[in-house]
Symmetry: C2
Subunit: 461 residues, 2 copies
């Protein structure tokens, strides 16, 4: 009995202590959501092997929470019917709005085409600052889904609201301002309440806005953005200003690429092999190094953009902020079968994560999540086939990159989802990593709309 | 200052209470390690979509710990040099022994060919019971690596210790008993201290042991195993006996297969498409249902085998046990491009997990881990290409299964790592799920040898 008494006295005493020592200061609450576009487990393993070695660890491997996220998509015409593979527009919409939509849609609902409120809008309305950082055009699907509402992702600028592309009609005319709409994605960004937007896509701002003498960029300036075009300008800008940084016409260059610009190539079987698969031999693509992309130095890294975004968003801010950071070219380089490009981009993401985790140390109410929007085609396959001793020519029907690794071996990456100029996405569930603050909120299996819910709950929206 | 004093008094009082109330009863400590062979995130997503729907949850999704495991392999001739894709022999050896080895090896070291002590041997020596359950031959690479020591996985029986297969010499003569070795894998199992071994592979026991008038099965009986050949015999056996169950000549049949025995097929482009990729059209394989495999009912399910194994291992046991359960045909069916086969096998694994978690409720010191040994070729790809509106014929260069889903849509699975009769493994990091007991032991990124370490630590070996 006396033990129970000791417990009760202790609990009371501890409660009093806690109350006495609690400092009722308002703490800024922040969420940083880092999206590796196409960054599934294959991409991470490939990059980890190259960057850190097979026993090495990326910064994201050190995060305390590890979950898996089911990617959800529905059919445009039957919005209750699942589609098993997403694009970046619908998957970013899930994370930005909490709603599942159809491929190609930017924060609008399938079939009904209703605008879906985004976490950026919710956060702004509640007094939080908001920011988007990306290595793609800022008008590209992932960042766009956090701020704009439009039925087709390709409607990035006033000139692309109604056009034909490779025989397909892209029609967003309903969303033109003349028709009472919000305009193209670039115009919606220019008119938005975002505090920081950094990335590429200057070409979409460098033209007259719809029915206007002003360019979209001038529109953005008029609505309060300081517009930046260079790494130097970004480095020198004052923390007080709202920023729109457009550091390339289109997407930003990657950090690495394949030696001599090489990407995946088709194995070359001998003529005899066309008679029967077990005959003849095959020449695999020669292995190659990943080398620095000389264009990369001219534009800011994701790390620099994110660091600047954190400065700006935390400046004179007692409420907090929401920041989405996208490493876009893991996906883009996988589409074009450039394994080195994807590795360099994932390296950038991981460096950026270190900066964000450093910020979270001094701003302890910062929830950091790292995830992907969908899977990609790249597969880490045997450099020496499991069947190599059998004497057959063994080779992928797709295209192969063999990378010379820092430790001396070769790592083989296979791209074999398509026979045309670009690879497909895949429907695999994607990783979600979070820091300790995510633990009470994140289950071991999530769906993408639940990432929106976690953000909302954490920020108290 | 007085607050610090209260803390100290409290901590002291709590320590005393804990000591006073501790009950020094010995509780059986158990580890159940479930291995889905080839069960990477693609396989899980494909099976989840089919079995539970895109928003559904498998039993493994409900487990409280979710980690990712880096698969490690080394080169046979340069054992410090990494190889980026494993086979089941070396990856099971990692989990069974804590050592990284080269492809094809069963609990032996690369180049030096030293026998590596397995968790089964360690556990047995410490008084734990031990068991292996699998849907493959019990002599196949995964189960074999927990109990046998041999340089080549193909040396499953006395007749296959030195032979030529498809032009490759398989030479395990050094391990023949005449040469002072432990004999073939089936002979090593027959002579082992295992308490329960259930699976297929009767053909490897149904022949004379090396230099003996006894069959390997008779050898097993003589060394104390009750040998079972049927589901009925398994259902009726007494819990006190040591069991060797051989329920098929080779591997056990899968629960599901493709309608009319169909597996993945090549898309058929029109002749015009051979002129240029953008011309002509393509006929994709017709979608099909997954149907029950009529052979499945004749043999015990993994669930039944595991349930029986748990009964036997926990019978009259105060120390505890180690049980490895393998769902082997996720991998085997992926090699032969049979998505339905892999789905049915993953269904079996997930049903079995429910049984194991039920057991863990009444035996609370039971650590349950579910993982894979390596990745596999199957990729969940768009049924309707991301590029379908462009008017090109878009199709995989590999082979495709389109499955009619219970909810009415079609799900497409691509196999495109090889042009020969079988697909390759992949090098992707694989999932690891565990129950709450795993939380203090399992990091968000592990390596496979660390699964051995976790088991050893949990059992106090």
């Amino acid at each position: 009995m006396h033990m129970k008494l000791i417990y009760l006295v202790c609990i009371f005493a501890l409660m009093m202590t806690a109350q006495a020592e609690e400092v009722p200061l308002k703490t800024m609450k922040n969420v940083v959501l880092i999206i590796g576009d196409g960054m599934d487990d294959h991409q991470i393993t490939i990059a980890r092997n190259y960057l850190k070695g097979v026993q090495g660890r990326l910064n994201l491997d050190e995060m305390s929470v590890r979950s898996s996220v089911q990617v959800l998509t529905v059919d445009e015409n039957s919005p209750t019917k699942p589609v098993y593979v997403a694009d970046s527009a619908n998957s970013a919409t899930s994370m930005a709005t909490g709603y599942v939509t159809s491929r190609g849609r930017i924060a609008t609902s399938a079939r009904a085409d209703a605008d879906l409120q985004t976490i950026v809008e919710l956060a702004h309305n509640a007094g939080f600052k908001t920011g988007l950082v990306t290595t793609s055009s800022v008008t590209d699907a992932t960042p766009a889904s956090f701020v704009a509402h439009i039925n087709i992702r390709a409607c990035e600028s006033p000139q692309t609201m109604n056009f034909e592309r490779r025989g397909v009609l892209i029609d967003c005319s309903k969303d033109q301002r003349a028709n009472g709409g919000l305009g193209s994605i670039s115009e919606q960004i220019a008119a938005s309440d975002l505090d920081v937007v950094l990335g590429g896509g200057r070409e979409h701002f460098d033209m007259k806005a719809e029915a206007s003498e002003e360019t979209v960029e001038e529109m953005a300036s008029a609505s309060g953005f300081t517009v930046l075009h260079s790494k130097k300008a970004l480095s020198n800008v004052e923390a007080a200003e709202r920023l729109l940084g457009l550091f390339a016409d289109s997407h930003l260059p990657t950090k690495l690429y394949g030696e001599a610009g090489r990407v995946a190539e088709k194995p070359e079987p001998s003529l005899l092999n066309s008679v029967h698969w077990s005959l003849g031999d095959v020449e695999l693509p020669a292995s190659m190094r990943c080398v620095d992309n000389p264009e990369y130095g001219e534009t800011p890294s994701i790390k620099l953009m994110t660091s600047k975004a954190l400065d700006h968003l935390s400046y004179d801010n007692e409420t907090g902020f929401f920041l989405m950071v996208e490493s876009a070219s893991i996906d883009k380089q996988s589409h074009v079968r450039n394994a080195c490009g994807s590795i360099g981009e994932l390296d950038q993401l991981d460096e950026t994560l270190a900066t964000v985790l450093e910020f979270a140390k001094t701003h302890p109410e910062t929830l950091v999540m790292v995830t992907a929007d969908h899977g990609q085609a790249a597969q880490l396959v045997p450099n020496e086939s499991l069947f190599s001793l059998m004497g057959f020519p063994v080779y992928t029907p797709g295209q192969l990159v063999r990378i010379k690794m820092p430790d001396g071996g070769d790592m083989a990456v296979n791209y074999a989802t398509n026979s045309i100029f670009a690879e497909e996405h895949t429907g695999v569930a994607v990783p979600l990593h979070a820091n300790e603050l995510g633990r009470p909120l994140i289950k071991t299996l999530m769906t993408q709309p639940e990432i929106f819910e976690v953000t909302r709950e954490f920020l108290g929206l």
